[in-house]
Symmetry: C2
């Protein structure tokens, strides 16, 4: 879940589910092949150099200077595409870890990050690590610098629980990005700075009141809200149920509520689904603590 409202392009967090599965097998044909993709309704390329999972594994093989290994990938998309949930990053993270395990590289997930990140770039067209970092490593992360992968995990106060509601519609990241104004008014910039710094501080101190007062996006959210029918009613519903904050996940259309505990998240999630229903949108609800593990071998 990228952006987290207050951290456009610089913060992201991992939730427990949904998540993609990737199966990696050795083959006798050198290079990377994608043998099967399920759950994508034919929307994802099977050419490895066009697929985030394929590119990630290609980059890993290149790094290992391994021109002889053959790797077949089966990608089981369990995450919705164009949902704002970082589905492309999830496949890249899973494939990188699976291939590394298959090849017995002994590399840590932190060591694998650059290759997964290269894969993710194919889809996002940018270098933002706010999806790939939590997908692979778990946690809630600040990406200070994309080039040097200067990444930092935030402290998570006890109890924090996330409700994500995914309405049954799609928004492309590039489309959502093209909408954005090229500039931010100085006073909005300054107030955003204050809220962002306070959010980091509130997370560290476990001051949930401060987290709630700070988790606001007056820069990007107002520019994207119109893409999501009923967004402001959905947000109002979450806040009325006691969510600390509520905003758009990634580029949308998924909307998240950041909550102090699982009960609050459940209440907020249900209210958000009702609000979407009033705008004619069916939706799926995901309830989860902040996942601390990231990609795992099953």
């Amino acid at each position: 879940m990228g952006n987290i409202g207050i951290g456009f392009d610089i913060m992201g967090l991992a939730i427990e589910q949904p998540g993609d599965e990737v199966i990696a097998r050795k083959s006798n044909t050198p290079g990377v092949r994608i043998t099967k993709i399920t759950g994508a309704q034919g929307k994802l390329p099977v050419e490895p150099h066009l697929n985030t999972a394929g590119v990630a594994v290609q980059r890993l093989l290149a790094h290992l200077d391994d021109a002889s290994s053959g790797i077949e990938l089966e990608i089981h998309k369990k995450m919705p595409i164009n949902s704002g949930l970082g589905s492309s990053a999830a496949s890249a993270a899973a494939a990188t870890l699976a291939a590394s395990e298959l090849l017995r590289t002994g590399m840590s997930k932190r060591d694998l990050l650059p290759f997964a990140w290269e894969g993710e770039k194919i889809a996002s067209g940018g270098r933002q690590g706010d999806n790939i970092v939590p997908s692979l490593l778990g946690g809630i992360n600040l990406i200070r610098d994309n080039e040097t992968m200067d990444i930092h995990r935030l402290h998570v106060p006890r109890g924090i629980y996330i409700a994500v509601v995914h309405p049954q519609m799609e928004i492309g990241t590039r489309e959502a990005r093209a909408l954005l104004s090229a500039t931010v008014p100085m006073d909005v910039h300054v107030q955003h700075n204050a809220n962002l710094a306070a959010f980091v501080l509130g997370m560290f101190k476990g001051d949930l009141g401060l987290v709630g007062r700070s988790l606001k996006d007056e820069v990007v959210e107002p520019q994207r809200a119109a893409l999501i029918p009923g967004f402001y009613q959905v947000k109002e519903a979450a806040l009325t149920e006691g969510a600390l904050g509520c905003s758009i996940s990634g580029a949308g259309p998924s909307v998240f509520a950041f909550c102090a505990n699982s009960l609050s998240a459940e209440n907020a999630g249900n209210a958000m689904q009702k609000a979407f229903a009033q705008h004619g949108l069916e939706s799926k609800l995901y309830l989860s603590p902040i996942n601390q593990e990231g990609a795992v071998i099953c």
Copy 2:
């Protein structure tokens, strides 16, 4: 010292010296009078309703519903005016605390903050609390919201030391503010966000490498640097001597170096003074840890 580079209008810190002194005495004439101002070369108004110290005490008396007490203030300016060091806030903070002590209000410094803040507004023309909060309370502070005085003290890693070099020239805050562009490019905004969040995180974790990589101002500093002769050479000198970061204090012309220890601050401070001298500017150097006390009764 407002702004601290990365926290324009939202962060400020207190240093040990210089600092203004205010003497408060009871008088038989109800209301506030300013009987003497030294060290200001006649530049500050003696009319209490035009002086930050006078207004602060007037507001305190009004809050106490005290129409009978008379208070005389002597203001001994030991801080340079128009230096970027928050001299007007310092007088307001000192006067508020002195009057409160004189009247035996029993109020805490946090309780006194609103009145000192009202005084400071007379000088700054704005509501930013980045000078008045550290002047009165000490520490390095984030001001999330000026209206509600939602203020938070940051953790200070051991050893942090500040060098402030004040070249012998003046810059008015309003003049420096009028220079600023009304907007910030989106990419600059995002990178600034990343650095700011990382700075807060680095301070909390005591990760001085991260503090150093984060303490950058690519929004305001480039717009004000031209007001300070030799600024970039001064900054380069500080960084060459190992300062974690270097930028303009408040609206300038003072320049600070944020350092990992006192030796580093001394080296950076001396190098900064030399660089100013090469541009024909004499300067004063102040070396200090982050002051944790703020205004004190002597």
